[in-house]
Symmetry: C2
Subunit: 584 residues, 2 copies
């Protein structure tokens, strides 16, 4: 079963050959990791993912978390797997050594984590949230807060959450209504009493860790009872389930959300302050809640994208395996006889090729972004590029990872619809990814309304693309694709220019379509860039030859969609904005 | 809740105004149904669907059928709803009056049935299968067989199944291995003893009806034990769960399949003849099993398409309703203030417009095909057109109905992913439709490898399209779209010509893409045809104006995809066939 997770050959190709992990390791401040130890971490991750995370994948879907009088009870197998994960020090993989972390570069940490996400995304969500929480505290918390709340998370003893959404405030955080009233000062900083309802809190309650550290976005209330307004009124608070005194904080589980997938991750409606107010300490300066969250947003969104890619990847691998084993019919034009494996049918191959383009392409795109996370500390251009690519990677991986899962079901036929196989669950699990951490529509507005407004950012990206085009010109097998890539990006560049001059209605009517177009443009660029490393590979090197085939497929059947997506913008259409709601 | 099913305004528009149900009723042999009684049937269907089928929609998803020592137990609420359905005579809606049926034209019967599919597709599957079974017996059974097995189904006392697939024989029925050994003769015809395993049998066992009538595809064995080979060796047998003697037949439930959706419909692995052989009677002539099934295939596939359209339609209606109620943020470019309903965001409207095009377009396409079923008895052209449109309608409704369900989840955000709302279940239920009754790949081969080979069939379709183009030329508002429709069909016609001259590998590598291209071509034609009925509608007629808006949207953002899908075929590409399996 374990060969169904991320293939090591794929990871090695992406990390060492395409993304230059060697160089990243050499440039890393934390040092100490060489190629051999990196390989050992990847081995270890693949093994624990296969032996600790994968075995309870179906079980945690069948046996959902339960709400009891004493709180939420999760599947014990999840706790057992996460204890092993903690023992290996993986909670701290990407955190700095001076805080007890392993100091892995983001690129390596993400490659390692991809195995866990592929094996069991719902179990892996706990360390993902915990690491993000600890990282925020390291960045903005006081020394005392870090010691009290971040270190136990880095050790994997306590788990963390992010409490942003409320029942009435999802995509629009300006509507957050949770109140925080000052309540004095102590060693952990300025203390507040919080009250309000937080919705969709992943890991919001469970019995898997000794304590749960909530990071809560709330609105401060001043001494006169005046509430700070707008997004500038939002601050970040650290609010533990169990207080340093050992007492339970005033946080109640008001309900458990029953999701279509991702079921092993408990998901709660939490009521803060049903009694005297939940005790929390402000993290950083007042009014900085949103900017602090947004500083972490790129990494959070890349985390979602990595999960989406990993789910899509595993589904696709199941499909490739099944198509090689399942005997059914014979392709048209072949002589009659016994049934052959369905991989022999061109239509099945077309599905698997599309799945390969989506699944491998998404994984590659996300790891590319992870490398930019490593680069941004010493290269401001990388930070700009990362900002531009984040909405693209988040959406492309979420939507095409899901498409790879859909293909995997289709390749399995009726069996793919049965719960005995994993492919249907992978599809259900992945459906969350275009929704959380900013829906596709929100990513579209981020790209079209913000990121593309910066022409210099796009020029940076185009510079990298032109390097690929130049390399392709030297490679007869791929030179034609290089010219097509350049042309596609000329058109995308034109679309960005038109966008900058567009009225708000035109922008809003085309933002998501533009996001899709840029997604395909980026995926096509990266497919060609990887294919260039493999040009000339023959039948004796099927892994490498497959990269060239997939690239050709993507340019033949996917890249032309770009034109369909940008055409309405280029024509200045605001049709969706124009239709009266009553006509829907 | 009931206004969430198929809107009566929509049905009236499609039936009376677009599809001329008046004329169909007048031409019907069975007569007796006028506009008033047709309206009463539609009222009745909407009411029973809302009050009898909808209320246990979630429940039948949560409480799956159970396999017990005495057989499969289904949710009692399903049985109660179906008894009401039987009492109203709806099992026999489309069957001839001389057999106890209501004699409704297919168009009206499908419009009525769409309400039940929208409300609860899994409960509606029982009468769908039962009617199909009875219809087959009426067409090919002896008078004694009809009396013994069809009439109790027409009355809704017994339910029926179709037993085609086997664990090793799904898409390729030539691999069917169930054996039928002659066992004498009696009043019900030539008797056989059947043995073999049948997989994916919907309604294969349950406690909802007094008896279950299986129609089983099996291979006859002659007196020398010689088994008939190939598809020509397959015959059809009627095999009841309980024999006319009152004894249980030799049919065992070997397992219950646990599906991702559609859970209220029991789905079984049945073992026929574990002991002395299950008793069955041959229906029609030996060796005619497949042709008999295929004679019913158009209607079966249209039934699947209707379910897919109905599920997509309901999901989309939920989304429209939710978008009008959910307050969140404000569209870019509007002044700050309180949150507005999300329908105000152009991106949400774009999603809802796409959903409208898909959901209403699919329902319209399926009902168009139902009208062809009515026409084919007196118009051979209608039969040819129906043959051409069936794979298109089956796939387009299945894939775009599902896409409408996906959109509905996205519009609901996190709530759409929670099982408290119906939209996630509608999506799961609908995922079966691109698989059963011939996968999308099989439909592609049917269209490209068979139906499009008949240039006269395509010419017939083009004739109807040209009528729409001619009407559009008279309507300034829509004349431009008419010209674009004609151009698109010129290209599709060219693709069909290229296809006819293509090598098998090129055909098989492009069949599904071509199916998608024709699907959009047909949907675009029908959208324009309906919009022409509504041209000039103003703000005071939002239902009609909405048809024009949706048509414009479809031409702006969907029709250009046709070119993407046909381009590889026009270039003669066989890329999917060429890639070695090891490179995947």
């Amino acid at each position: 079963m374990s060969d169904i997770l991320i293939a090591r050959e794929e990871l090695d190709f992406l990390l060492w050959e395409w993304l230059g992990l060697d160089r990243v390791l050499a440039e890393s401040d934390d040092g100490g990791i060489d190629r051999e130890s990196a390989g050992a971490i990847l081995d270890l991750s693949a093994k624990l993912a296969a032996n600790g995370f994968l075995p309870h994948y179906k079980l945690s879907d069948n046996r959902e978390p339960e709400l009891t009088a004493s709180g939420v009870r999760a599947l014990p197998e999840i706790g057992a797997a996460l204890r092993e994960y903690a023992e290996l020090g993986l909670f701290s993989a990407s955190l700095p050594p001076d805080r007890g972390g392993m100091g892995l570069p983001a690129l390596l940490a993400n490659a390692s984590f991809a195995q866990f996400l592929a094996a069991n995304v719902a179990t892996a969500a706990y360390p993902m949230l915990t690491t993000a929480n600890a990282r925020l505290l390291l960045a903005f918390g006081t020394e005392a807060q870090i010691e009290a709340f971040a270190l136990p998370q880095i050790a994997g003893r306590w788990f963390g959450t992010m409490c942003l959404s409320e029942p009435q405030a999802g995509s629009n955080l300006a509507d957050v209504a949770t109140r925080a009233v000052p309540d004095g000062q102590d060693a952990l900083g300025t203390r507040y009493r919080l009250s309000g309802n937080k919705m969709w809190i992943s890991g919001g309650d469970h019995d898997l860790s000794e304590n749960i550290v909530h990071l809560v976005l709330a609105r401060t209330v001043d001494d006169c009872g005046e509430q700070a307004a707008g997004t500038k009124g939002l601050s970040l608070f650290v609010v533990p389930k169990i207080l340093p005194s050992g007492d339970r904080n005033d946080i109640a589980v008001a309900g458990l959300n029953h999701k279509m997938g991702y079921r092993g991750t408990t998901n709660c409606l939490l009521n803060f302050g049903e009694r005297e107010g939940a005790i929390g300490w402000i993290v950083g300066a007042p009014g900085q809640g949103l900017p602090q969250m947004f500083k972490m947003m790129n990494e959070a969104r890349i985390g979602v994208a990595l999960g989406a890619a990993a789910l899509g990847y595993r589904g696709w691998r199941h499909a490739v395996q099944y198509a090689g084993e399942r005997l059914q019919g014979r392709p048209p034009g072949t002589a009659p006889g016994k049934s052959l494996p369905i991989v022999g049918h061109p239509d099945v191959r077309a599905m698997l090729l599309a799945g390969k383009c989506y699944a491998e392409g998404a994984l590659a795109l996300v790891l590319y972004c992870a490398r930019l996370v490593d680069e941004e500390s010493h290269d401001p251009d990388a930070a700009v590029l990362l900002g531009l690519l984040t909405p693209i990677a988040k959406t492309w991986a979420s939507e095409y990872g899901l498409a790879a899962n859909d293909i995997a079901i289709q390749v399995h036929g009726g069996y793919g619809y049965a719960r005995d196989f994993d492919v249907e669950q992978l599809w259900r699990d992945n459906r969350l990814n275009p929704i959380h951490e900013g829906t596709t529509g929100i990513q579209g507005l981020d790209l079209a309304g913000r990121k593309l407004k910066d022409a210099a950012a796009l020029a940076l990206l185009r510079g990298r693309i032109d390097q690929t085009v130049a390399k392709a010109a030297q490679e007869p097998e791929l030179a034609g694709l290089g010219r097509r890539l350049a042309k596609a990006w000329d058109r995308l560049g034109m679309a960005a220019e038109v966008l900058r001059a567009s009225e708000p209605d035109v922008l809003a009517s085309n933002a998501t379509a533009l996001l899709r177009a840029f997604g395909h443009g980026v995926a096509g660029w990266q497919w060609l860039d990887r294919a260039l490393l493999c040009a000339g590979a023959g039948e004796d090197a099927p892994f490498r030859a497959g990269k060239v085939w997939a690239c050709q497929y993507f340019f033949e059947r996917e890249m032309p969609k770009i034109e369909v997506w940008i055409a309405p913008l280029l024509a200045g259409s605001a049709l969706p904005a124009a239709i009266p709601a009553a006509c829907l």
